[in-house]
């Protein structure tokens, strides 16, 4: 029966030692999209006029290093998706798109930056369908953690 005691001791030891390991610190934090600043644009429920050039402004933060970001404006005439924001905006009735605006672009962020003031110029063509749109901000950090922000906006 000594054998059993020996075995049990080995097992317990094996478990205890295997549970503690020497692991280098890895980044497990998401980057942050901050649109609470006074000049951040657009924000939830912002309105934009056709034919105008708007300036996107937001502050990005990460604990180690930011990666890149993409912006995307697509119609929400069918009310298909939700914004990630708590407040809801007044929506028009569901309608069929004819010539909805579609904008997708990606932007680089300088290497090794922890805080970045993002700005980007976007021209809204004069001939697109007015109505409810989504403004999506996708931000990654160097390691590939991604944060999304989906804003409801209106093009007038």
């Amino acid at each position: 029966m000594k054998k059993i005691r020996f075995i049990i001791t080995i097992v317990v030891l094996a478990f205890i030692t295997s549970c503690s390991s020497d692991k280098a610190e890895i980044d497990s934090e998401y980057p942050v999209i901050d649109i609470t600043g006074a000049n951040a644009f657009p924000i939830q429920c912002s309105t934009i006029s056709r034919g105008q050039t708007i300036t996107f402004k937001a502050t990005f933060n990460d604990n180690v290093a930011l990666g890149s970001y993409s912006l995307d404006i697509h119609h929400n005439f069918d009310h298909h998706t939700h914004s990630t924001e708590v407040t809801t905006c007044e929506m028009e009735a569901v309608k069929k798109p004819v010539k909805p605006m579609l904008f997708i672009n990606n932007y680089t962020i300088p290497d090794g930056v922890k805080t970045y003031e993002a700005t980007a110029q976007i021209t809204i063509p004069a001939d697109v369908d007015p109505g409810d749109y989504h403004f999506m901000i996708r931000l990654t950090d160097k390691e590939g953690w991604q944060t999304l922000k989906g804003l409801s906006i209106k093009i007038l």
Binding site: C19, T84, V86, I104, N106
Partner: protein
């Protein structure tokens, strides 16, 4: 939580105390007979399972259908989760994928009736197309088994054994009935078998119909958006299943030939508010009208298998040939949502129906032959297998190209019985594989800028590409069985050919809303693994420890990058296939102690550690890494005169937190879940009816499972679920 933790530690202390005290005192030997199962009037002796374990140097776990009935889950792998080292990637309540020691997808293979199951294993939402009622015995190999099965078996194998043949001159059957409270499931499976002297048949029809499953919360947070749930129902997770099986053939003295036919059909919904990790607005009135309807998005899968296995004896040689065909037809339906530069309105003259998001159609032809013979102390098996695959794609979206694939392998293994105590195992295998991917162009135009000029173009998603792979794998092992103790060790290599998704994917994965990009330069994945096993078995005490260490010089890994794709990817994050060195180790531990003949306690624990040792995610773990967990169980099997084999058991599973994550995973908190199970057999006339009742998640605990398909969108696991199942055998004549 605090309370539960306190209980857990108390329980742990109590059990360890009892074990140590009892183990040192000499016990009255209780009579534990080897398990003898009556199945279709055929006796399957527990001894053969024991024997296999003692002679096989890899770690093998075998369970039979009574284990499945007692632990019945929504799908086969969910029913096997109680085994340490075996977990699942669950897709709602009716589907799951095997996860053996943290590996899944194409790294674990499933074999049914000797035929390698070929579905669309690469998708996290693609459940295993196996009818668990048709499973009689499953063998799980927790380790590299490429030398037996060829490419893909790097992580392990789930081998569903053929049904035992009905005994001579019988005609009978059984009816299985199952009901579940959580998702209002009703399932039935009817079996009919018969045999005269040499000719036999065994058939089965299984149906299942279930509603949306319920979780212990009325609101879930998909990203930061709160989705209210109607009456705790996870919107649109209902499903149904209809399966047919027939095996028939001839069994004589020197020749046995069996034809297997099966068709498994499932239709199941995806959680409607998050098709692709994008919080979606749904018509709640439409969706919440009924908890049983399956609306979009949903998947429909049909898996057909036809095969013949013939074995015959020629002198000292036992030959076996197998020829098989399977077709996996998978369709994913979802409302058309234009993304990237797709037109806002779906064109009327499109080749695919409007709501058909994806379609995969796979045909596989396979042939294998082997010869088993004895040479003095050597039991030698040589053989080869060949498989040809043809894959077509459809639907309006693109992720992987159409492709054809050819695989062939040659193997030899040798089991040497040195004496009663010592066995040696050795195997070598050579494999060749060729994969040929087809070119694909977008069906819509995207703007491409060149020299300050923007032109609209049909972008090419994939190119004609042919890749060849070959590999040499080996395995050596030893078993030493001095009485109650048995020891085993095995060192082996395994390999896996990259799949078309890894080589050539170039599209959006809607479930995870990310852009996935293949890498045509990938090498075949290799793996080296050391497995050890230590088992002690006495009349009232058993104990098993199975540690392993595993190294991949070039693990194929889908790496989240910091880039975004602006074309097809609609601005989504790009995930690209890469290869990295990976080191993994872990262990499973199981022990059972009989306090009395009728009362036993068990502990089953598992631990796994994985780390990427090179590449972009150096220092990170691998995705879907199961956290450590311990299961404590008490089992009471009293002698009650009018009942046969009654049992009552309580299980408590503690799952530790998982803080070892890799993007885009989230840390998962620890969980405490209690399950109850009880049942019995009742003799009515000549037949014995068995009844099993389970209460899963007894306290309706709200918890997240780190390896669930829905983990990323924070969907909790199912709440309390009462499962009643019954098996009623009948014999028509004998």
């Amino acid at each position: 939580m605090k309370n539960a933790q306190f209980l857990f530690w108390n329980f742990f202390l109590l059990i360890s105390l009892l074990i140590s005290v009892e183990a040192f005192s000499q016990n009255q030997p209780s009579e534990k007979k080897p398990e003898i199962k009556e199945l279709n009037e055929v006796l399957v002796n527990g001894n053969s399972i024991e024997k296999r374990k003692k002679e096989e140097s890899l770690n093998v776990e075998t369970v039979n259908n009574s284990f499945i009935q007692r632990n019945l889950g929504g799908s086969l792998m969910q029913s096997l989760q109680k085994l340490p080292g075996v977990k699942t990637i669950s897709i709602g309540s009716g589907g799951s994928k095997p996860l053996i020691r943290g590996l899944s997808f194409n790294q674990v293979i499933v074999v049914e009736n000797g035929l390698k199951h070929e579905g669309q294993q690469w998708g996290a939402d693609h459940g295993l197309e196996i009818d668990q009622y048709a499973v009689n015995r499953v063998e799980i190999i927790k380790g590299p088994s490429s030398f037996i099965y060829g490419s893909d078996a790097v992580g392990g194998a789930v081998n569903i054994k053929p049904l035992p043949l009905p005994s001579q001159n019988t005609f009978g059957g059984s009816v299985d009935l199952t009901g579940k409270s959580n998702n209002a499931l009703f399932g039935s499976s009817v079996n009919l078998f018969g045999r005269n002297e040499n000719w036999f048949f065994d058939s089965r029809v299984t149906t299942m119909d279930y509603g949306d499953y319920r979780v212990p919360t009325d609101v879930v947070h998909v990203y930061s958006y709160a989705v209210p749930l109607y009456k705790n129902h996870l919107r649109n997770t209902a499903g149904k299943e209809l399966d047919f099986h027939l095996s028939t053939g001839y069994s004589g003295e020197n020749l046995k030939s069996v034809f297997y036919f099966s068709n498994v059909h499932t239709k199941s919904g995806f959680f409607a508010n998050a098709h692709g990790l994008e919080p979606r607005n749904v018509d709640t009135e439409l969706h919440d009208k009924s908890s049983r309807d399956i609306l979009m998005p949903y998947q429909q899968v049909n898996h057909l298998k036809v095969s013949n296995t013939t074995s015959f004896q020629l002198g000292d040689h036992a030959f076996e040939t197998q020829i098989g065909f399977q077709n996996n037809f998978r369709r994913e339906w979802s409302h058309y949502v234009n993304h990237g530069y797709m037109p806002p309105i779906y064109p009327e003259d499109m080749y695919a129906p409007k709501d058909l998001e994806r379609q995969y159609d796979k045909n596989v032809w396979s042939f294998s032959a082997k010869d088993e013979f004895r040479l003095n102390r050597h039991q030698i098996t040589i053989g080869s297998n060949v498989a040809l695959q043809e894959n077509e794609i459809g639907g309006w979206s693109f992720l992987i190209p159409a492709f054809t694939q050819f695989n062939a392998g040659l193997f030899a293994y040798d089991k040497i019985e040195l004496n009663e105590k010592w066995f040696l195992n050795g195997a070598i295998r050579y494999d060749y594989g060729k994969i040929k991917m087809k070119s694909y162009y977008d069906w819509f135009q995207s703007p491409v800028s060149e020299n300050n000029q923007t032109e609209m173009e049909y972008l090419q998603r994939s190119q004609d590409l042919t890749k060849n792979f070959d590999s040499f794998t080996w395995s050596i092992g030893a078993n030493y069985n001095p009485g109650k103790l048995s020891l085993k060790a095995n060192l082996g290599s395994s390999f896996r050919m990259p799949i078309s998704k890894e080589l050539a994917s170039n599209g959006v994965n809607y479930h995870y809303f990310r852009f996935e990009k293949g890498n045509p330069n990938l090498d075949a994945e290799r793996s080296y693994q050391l497995d050890l096993g230590m088992e002690w078995k006495s009349q009232n005490f058993s104990f098993q420890l199975t540690p392993f260490a595993n190294y991949f010089p070039n693990f194929i890994y889908l790496n989240p990058t910091s880039a975004h794709d602006v074309y097809y990817g609609a601005g989504n994050q790009v995930f690209e296939y890469e290869q990295s060195k990976v080191f993994r180790y872990g262990a499973e531990f199981q022990t059972r102690y009989y306090f009395l003949k009728s009362l036993s306690a068990e502990i089953a624990a598992e631990y796994l550690y994985s780390e990427q040792k090179s590449g972009s995610k150096k220092g990170y773990t691998l995705p879907f890494s199961p956290p450590p967990s311990v299961l404590f169980g008490l089992n009471y099997e009293p002698q009650i005169s009018f009942l046969r084999e009654p049992y009552f058991s309580v299980d408590y599973r503690f799952t530790a937190q998982q803080n070892n994550i890799v993007p885009p995973e989230k840390k998962t908190a620890e969980s405490h879940v209690v399950n109850l199970a009880f049942g019995t057999k009742v003799k009515t006339g000549k037949e014995t009816v068995s009844i099993s009742i389970q209460v899963q998640n007894l306290f309706n605990t709200r918890y997240l499972n780190h390896t669930s398909f829905y983990r990323l969108i924070e969907l909790p696991e199912a709440g309390r679920n009462v499962i009643v199942s019954m098996k009623i055998p009948f014999s028509i004549s004998r």
